[in-house]
């Protein structure tokens, strides 16, 4: 059984397996990564750092590519405004 850790996504604590990417955690939590210029919710598409659809706010820094970041204990993640 994998070791688990807790991150906060849009103010809600979420428990994920160690090694989970932030993009995967956001998908599990059913939270969009960001909104397009037209106001549509977006989520990870390519999962390999190319498409930029998974950008979200990580520890207060906007537009981080969440598919390239692994969850760490007590990380704060939010949908990019």
């Amino acid at each position: 059984m994998p070791e688990h850790l807790s991150v906060t996504i849009n103010d809600v604590p979420v428990c994920v397996a160690r090694g989970t990417t932030v993009a995967a955690a956001m998908l599990l939590a059913e939270q969009p990564s960001r909104f397009s210029v037209g106001g549509e919710p977006r989520s990870a598409l390519c999962g390999m750092g190319i498409c930029f659809e998974c950008r979200a706010m990580v520890n207060g820094v906007p537009h981080r590519r969440t598919c390239q970041i692994v969850c760490e204990p007590d990380m704060t993640v939010a949908t990019n405004p």
């Binding site: 210029v37 950008r55 820094v61 906007p62």
Partner: protein
Amino acid sequence: MKPFDILVVGAGIVGSAVARECALLGWRVGVIEGAVPAGGATAAGMGHVVVMDDSPAQLALTAFSRSLWQAESEKLPHSVEYESRGTLWVAADDEEMAEVHSKQATYTRAGVKAEVLNAGGLAKAEPNLRHGLAGALLVPGDGVVYPPAAAGFYLSEARRLGAELFLNRAVSASHGRVILNDGVTLSSERIVLAVGAECDLLPSMPIQKRKGHLIITDRYPGFLHHQLVELGYLKSAHTLIEDSVAFNIQPRQTGQLLIGSSRQYGNEDSAVDAEILRRMMDRAREYMPGLEKLSALRVWTGFRAATDDKLPLIGPAAELADDPSLWLAAGFEGLGITNAPGAARLLVDGMLDRKSEIDAKPFLPARLMEPARLAHA
């Protein structure tokens, strides 16, 4: 083919504004564009609608043109992204603060509202600027537009009024005839060259290319509220020979930031110059350290059409071409977006022999005739 009342070569923002102005008169207008409409200097620039006071003539033209933008702002489609952001001319030290005061006096005399902010006022207006700046001059009526959409709006208005668009390159334009690269010849008693810095059709046009770089960031809404320009810009941007950079940053409606600026003569290579880009970013970071943490999406270059006296060429080509059918609307350097509507008015006033709202004489192309060229003509 039946003659046109006017043929406009170039569908950038200036050519498109001229086309609309003429179409509004009920003229039969032809617009000729060999590349993508609004795809040259119009697409490369920032879209800052700004009153500039580097000469009395430039002040008159920019203030007049800005008033035309303002008068039309409610009617512009959303895609033009017109926003009355205001410009903050940022003073770094007491010497530049003295300039803020004299600049305010100049603007006020010209009827342009301008307000002095002290250090505290500036910090409050733009919290992401570094501490220790001296203050700024706020020109609240300045605006921001998305230039390709603005040019597209002018062109679509012209076409709605009957103007015809030819997506062909003009291989020659003189003596009432424009020959297109598909062999078609168009005729008109008036031809306007609105060609930015592309002088192939009239090599005697006294225009030089001045290269610039811009950066666009990802979206950071609320990071910046006004267009900021360092006052040192007036010193650095106006040296004619050396390469220069100056801090200039603009908030877009999306929350993106456009960061400039650079000026280079004698470099016609459109590739991004890493050294100039580094200097430009260093300069921007000196003013706004927080930029360090933002992501840039893209960097590009463009070419301003610069003249020796920093004023555009608006009016008959006259002795430059020994061709009474040729008119010019070119050489706007960094002010083509601002000045397009005013230039269109002045040009048409000249064609109709109508009195203009401002003195058109400082912009007449004949002023830049060199004696050698005159003798040659």
